[in-house]
């Protein structure tokens, strides 16, 4: 039984090549995207990718949190995978923090219109929102949320690693369950108050500062949550195909597939809840968000987004056999992650860059983030055995049957 992951040279090379592509794109972008408008695209591309990848990494911490609180047993056999992915949160959080601080204090008003004090003075709406969309509140909220996310992610990971060194006994089992429940409960509250409420308003919705939607955070959450689940599925399949994770079989894959299926529909539900109310009420201050997207040049992206993220997963993942097949789940997971990357693209770009360009720059930066993610996750996976051997639910996970 191979329980200790060793990073293959090929994976390391792939991650370095991808990171190289990212850095190269960044440098080309720095040169090619000069000028007033180009700089906006330069920063918007980085903002889109760093928020997207940070939030899908955080979705893996959320996965650990919810499955622990629900006392789910089936995921224990591959629990080290979401744990390893969640360990990218400190790095990606650091990157995003730097980007946000440059945007706010470097007064990149192409991305965030509200950072320009002169502009806010003449704008009644922005003036009214200045307590919320102001440097002080923005920075404080960002520091607190990022700090808490990183703290809880590292805490959950360290607890899990520490438990491997304990002796196996009923008392140990009870202790593991109790302290995991307590810490995961704390994290879920923080997660709900940040990703489920204010954080996407601050980081992404404030790109269109005149507009607001209370569904926006939930919509962002659904997008990153389903991508996070797809990412977990991808890493599980990778490890399984390389002979690791001997406890994981089609039953676990089936459940991950069900999650991907269900939350694609959940995403569509939230998408529709946001769209329909705005469409129905037809108020100018609300429809301005959808005007460039539905009737402007973003129209193809808008419908492509719906097709990739709702119609295709709905039809492809409906059958039991596709959810139990490693190859089909791999392709659908990649499709879902790309689809939600595109979703973030159409959330960020119309309000900042305005016109639609072929996203070579954004895709290049995205590949760089993928490389970074693979690099960190592979190293984290190699740090500990792949099965948390003292976890009381491990047996339940091994005999799991859907």
């Amino acid at each position: 039984m191979k329980d200790q992951f060793v990073v293959p040279a090929k994976l390391k090379t792939t991650s370095f090549v991808l990171m190289g592509i990212g850095v190269l794109t960044l440098l080309i972008g720095l040169v090619a995207l000069g000028g007033e408008h180009g700089a906006t695209r330069f920063w918007a591309g980085i903002l889109q990718n760093s928020t997207f990848f940070l939030l899908i990494a955080l979705a893996c911490t959320f996965f650990i949190g919810v499955t622990t609180l629900a006392h789910g047993g089936w995921q224990i056999a591959f629990r080290r995978v979401p744990e390893a992915i969640s360990m990218t949160v400190p790095v990606l959080g650091g990157i995003l923090f730097v980007v946000l601080m440059i945007l706010v204090f470097g007064e990149k008003d192409g991305v965030y219109h509200w950072v320009n004090a002169e502009h806010v003075k003449h704008d009644a709406i922005l003036n009214g929102k200045s307590a919320f969309l102001g440097n002080t509140f923005f920075t404080t909220a960002t520091v607190i949320t990022l700090g808490l996310w990183i703290f809880f992610t590292i805490k959950l990971r360290n607890m899990s690693l520490e438990e491997d060194t304990w002796d196996l006994s009923p008392e140990t089992g009870r202790r593991i369950l109790w302290r995991n429940t307590v810490w995961c409960g704390g994290f879920i509250v923080i997660y709900g108050l940040s990703v489920g409420s204010t954080t996407p308003w601050l980081w992404l919705m404030s790109i269109d500062p005149h507009w607001f939607s209370t569904m926006y955070s939930w919509y962002t959450f659904a997008s990153t949550w389903v991508s996070g689940l797809s990412l977990i599925a991808l890493f599980v399949i990778y490890l399984k195909k390389n002979g690791y994770l001997s406890f994981v079989n089609e039953e676990h894959l089936h459940d991950l597939g069900k999650f991907m299926f269900a939350f694609s529909i959940f995403w569509a539900y939230l998408w529709f809840s946001q769209y329909m109310l705005i469409w129905y009420a037809n108020m100018p201050e609300e429809t301005e968000y959808f005007k460039p997207r539905v009737w402007g040049e973003w129209r193809p992206i808008f419908f492509l987004n719906l097709i990739i993220n709702f119609i295709l997963p709905l039809l492809l993942l409906m059958k039991r056999d596709t959810k139990r097949n490693y190859t089909s789940v791999t392709y659908i997971a990649i499709l879902i992650i790309f689809g939600h990357w595109l979703d973030f693209f159409q959330m960020v770009m119309p309000g900042s860059v305005h016109e639609l360009n072929f996203p070579w720059y954004e895709l290049g930066i995205g590949l760089g983030f993928v490389g970074l993610l693979i690099f960190i996750v592979a190293n984290q996976l190699a740090k500990a055995p792949l099965a948390p051997r003292n976890h009381p639910y491990l047996k339940e996970s091994i005999v799991h049957h859907t």
Partner: protein, 197 residues
């Protein structure tokens, strides 16, 4: 309605039942059905039951619901009785989506429920033979059909060897008939149909 001859084995524990099912199948006896008080994971595979097609039926019912809702609403609001509602177009697709969703769910849920009842032969006012009064209470009951290639005595001995606590022989209807479980049904009790065995 054909009555058949069955050997009924009653087990106290699923841990005994499970290997017994595998052994009975390996020996080549025809398992009519296994009744358990709760769903036993993996028992369907052990019994060699084929994958249910209930979900395909559900998909077809769902699609029917989608089409019904969309076509009916389009017909009403586009051609039969167009109304100006808040200046919206006569074919306001977003406004139709919630109702389309509801009808999809309704059609597939009701359709699947009825198909399920039909497949399991469970309906109001319909009766099936109960092999053991405690088969859904605390006993695990395996029913083996006596075919032309096997005989009851042999099956009884085999069931005893795999750990059945209680074994008997019954002649019973395989299908369902009009009747109620809370009343004595005289129709078949008084006139057992001729045996094919």
């Amino acid at each position: 309605m054909a009555a058949k001859k069955f050997v009924v084995g009653c087990f106290d524990d699923e841990a005994v039942l499970f290997p017994a099912v595998k052994k009975v199948r390996a020996a080549g006896y025809k398992i009519h059905d296994v009744y358990t008080p709760f769903p036993v994971h993996g028992l369907d595979q052990a019994m060699g039951l084929r994958e249910t097609s209930l979900h395909t039926a559900g998909f077809i019912y769902g699609i029917t619901g989608t089409t019904t809702a969309l076509s009916f609403m389009s017909w009403v609001f586009v051609s039969d009785w167009p109304l100006n509602i808040g200046g919206k177009p006569h074919f306001p697709l977003p406004a139709f989506i919630p109702i389309t969703f509801e009808l999809t769910v309704l059609f597939s849920a009701v359709g699947m429920m009825m198909t399920f009842c039909y497949l399991c032969q469970l309906m109001p006012f319909v009766k099936k033979h109960v092999f053991h009064p405690r088969q859904t209470d605390d006993k695990f009951v395996m029913v083996i059909e006596v075919t032309s290639k096997s005989n009851a005595g042999e099956i009884k001995d085999f069931l005893a060897s795999v750990g059945a606590a209680e074994i008997n022989e019954q002649i019973a209807e395989t299908g369902w008939w009009y009747g109620r479980f809370d009343r004595e049904d005289r129709l078949y009790a008084e006139q057992p149909a001729p045996l094919n065995v």
